[in-house]
Symmetry: C2
Subunit: 204 residues, 2 copies
């Protein structure tokens, strides 16, 4: 059984790496598919699920409300439901067979399946270049704004992880391999990584 | 030009990984050789150089003295000399051609040669097992004592690094690849790593 989980800094190319590794091994890669499944099961819009699927429960509080005791119960309830549903779906997907899972704290949720856990990161300049290539039409953000957004998203991912484990997000000890993609294309790095993962699995 | 530097937690197998990677590429691996060269050039005993070669300058102060202003100038002078000599030797070795260098903050000292920078680490249980296999004859340390020694050595390496750079020891951002050797033999991991390093070099 080969389950590969990918935690990643925003803009590091972790998602592309996941897709390419999955293609290399001829196994599925789950990323946005997880959001679609959660949305479907919870009867929620997938944009909403996407916006909260890797945030800590605190992040669900509308910032305009300000004080926690004003937060309607439905917000709390819904955020817990999404988190639980997401865990169930991760377990179902892993039970189907070998796969790559990007994000969603899958490395911790699926710990009992002994996944190969990767962390993908890069320096700020490289992440900025990668983000510049995928801005939405009509969206004009300065580099400063993009860096702020990247940090915020990474912070939310770290907070989301802290719901499940004390093993810190982005700390080497939480992963089997940490890959710095700074200044590199993802594609040529895949065969070497795949060969390393295979050696790792073989010596289990 | 392929210079590979290996930073490593004590007991993680980083030195073995360095030797095996060097063998794989057919290039030299410098580890204790650096100490011998420093000792020779400085006219010092190599055991003494070995004991201080990856410590911060503070670590040179004899602990029995207690107050810094009592430290004889010769201690300070000698520690600075060893640090400077070690840097010169690293640069000379790198100038000779492709090589693997273990420790000695070579990744920072040789930054202008754009080395491939690795960090090798493992969980405590794995490091204990590895250390148990190489205790000196007549040396009987409890697991607790070995863990204390491992932490102390890693702390000294981190402090030594802080002489050269603000990029923290053991932080992913300081390296190109962080490799967790927990529960694994080093040998089978080498071909995959070598293939990854070659792809990295090729896309430079």
């Amino acid at each position: 059984m080969k389950i590969i989980t990918i935690s990643r800094e925003f803009g590091s190319g972790g998602r592309e790496l996941g897709k390419r590794l999955a293609d290399h091994f001829g196994i599925p890669c789950y990323d946005h598919e997880i959001i679609d499944l959660v949305a479907e099961k919870q009867g929620l819009h997938k944009d909403y699920v996407a916006s909260v699927s890797e945030k800590s429960l605190q992040a669900f509080y509308p910032t305009t409300i300000g004080h926690r005791f004003y937060v309607p119960n439905t917000f709390i309830r819904q955020s817990v439901d999404i988190t639980v549903e997401q865990q169930n779906i991760l377990k179902e997907l892993a039970a189907r067979g070998d796969c790559v899972i990007v994000g969603r704290c899958a490395d911790v949720v699926l710990e009992d399946r002994r996944p190969f856990k990767m962390f993908v990161y890069a320096d700020t300049a490289s992440k900025l270049r990668r983000c510049a290539g995928r801005t939405k039409a009509g969206e004009h953000l300065s580099d400063k704004e993009i860096v702020k957004k990247m940090r915020q998203i990474d912070k939310e991912r770290a907070d989301y992880r802290s719901l499940f484990t004390d093993e810190g997000w982005g700390k080497p000890q939480s992963y089997h391999l940490c890959v710095n993609t700074s200044g590199r294309e993802i594609k040529p790095l895949v065969p070497g990584l795949a060969s390393y993962i295979e050696a790792w699995e073989d010596t289990q």
